[in-house]
Assembly symmetry: C2
Homo-oligomer: 204 residues x 2
């Protein structure tokens, strides 16, 4: 089938595509640039993925399947232990994303790609994400509803919406904050997650 000792052609394409999509956008990165960066033949994309659109979806699937699983796993653990609070539920949502972004193999790059997906008002991509991963947000929204019963539904939804915006923006490193020279990439991102949880908990 596949899977050589090194990286398969599939994996090489996915890695290069992720990087170039983050840097130049989905329309801005061409398949020739992707295959050149991956050091594979141009036709390999259409052979392994069928089309550029399918490649884009696969770039998301590779990361989001595990990210969603970990988020829900943490949330379930919290609620089973009766430990659910604003801070811990936010932590269950943010920490898996933080860990992904710290993954040595370009996890931080993927967070930028994810933020691009939000910027795309493109309906195909948005419905793909909503159809496949919308249930995660639904579960977390339900958890917050239980934690903040005094808030009416509309009010809670507004705050959650704003919170997700702050998370997305920060994890994609859009801001002007530069890593302090003394800090490692890991320290920088852990700082960010800490501030994110604090800021969002206060806002909620």
């Amino acid at each position: 089938m596949q899977q050589s000792a090194q990286f398969s052609t599939r994996q090489k394409i996915l890695g290069a595509a992720e990087e170039l999509f983050a840097e130049r956008g989905f329309a801005g990165a061409s398949l020739r640039q992707v295959t050149a960066a991956a050091k594979v033949n141009l036709a390999a994309v259409n052979y392994h993925f069928g089309s550029k659109d399918n490649l884009i979806e696969e770039v998301f699937r590779r990361r989001l399947d595990e990210l969603s699983r970990r988020r829900l796993e943490r949330l379930a653990t919290l609620e089973a232990a009766g430990d659910a609070s604003l801070d811990t539920v936010l932590d269950a949502f943010i920490t898996p994303a933080l860990e992904l972004s710290l993954d040595r193999k370009g996890g931080s790059v993927f967070m930028r790609v994810l933020a691009r997906a939000f910027a795309e008002h493109n309906s195909n991509l948005r419905t793909f994400l909503s159809d496949n991963y919308g249930y995660v947000l639904k579960d977390f929204a339900a958890a917050f509803t239980r934690l903040l019963p005094q808030l009416d539904k509309q009010e809670l939804y507004w705050r959650l919406d704003i919170a997700v915006g702050a998370l997305t923006y920060a994890m994609a490193d859009f801001g002007m904050i530069q890593r302090r020279s003394g800090d490692s990439e890991r320290e920088h991102r852990e700082q960010m997650a800490k501030h994110l949880i604090h800021f969002t908990a206060a806002g909620l």
Copy 2:
């Protein structure tokens, strides 16, 4: 969509470009699509703007010049009257953007374009925005420094960074919140601004 007689070719192009950039991205929207939507000749873009990149910059300039002026104007008024508080300074930042987004002529569309600019890690565009409008953020950061003297600098920058993220995301309407059927577009956006100010003030 657009009128043909009363708007100059320049403005017709800018309007159509803004709309298509918001919808498909800077790389995703071609000059042929733009000129077709504007009902002008293809060559008009290069005649009036020189290149596609210059057109992109001009789309930003048209809106941001006035937006920046209004924000700083409000901030100055506040500080002259000694009325500067967390809420009022945030209001000085958010309300002009809200008013722009309520402009009948596609102001809300522009907010989506602006959010795309953040998603672009493209250095040309980011340095253009930073060079031309960075002083606005600097002035507001200074105002917050005066309002929150107990916070150390690094801590404040973190929170401001997260706040800007929430603002950008919300104003671009990326979220899942749908306008309630009873509400007008205006009511929807005014609600949003109110929640934004509250959420951000709490976080800061």
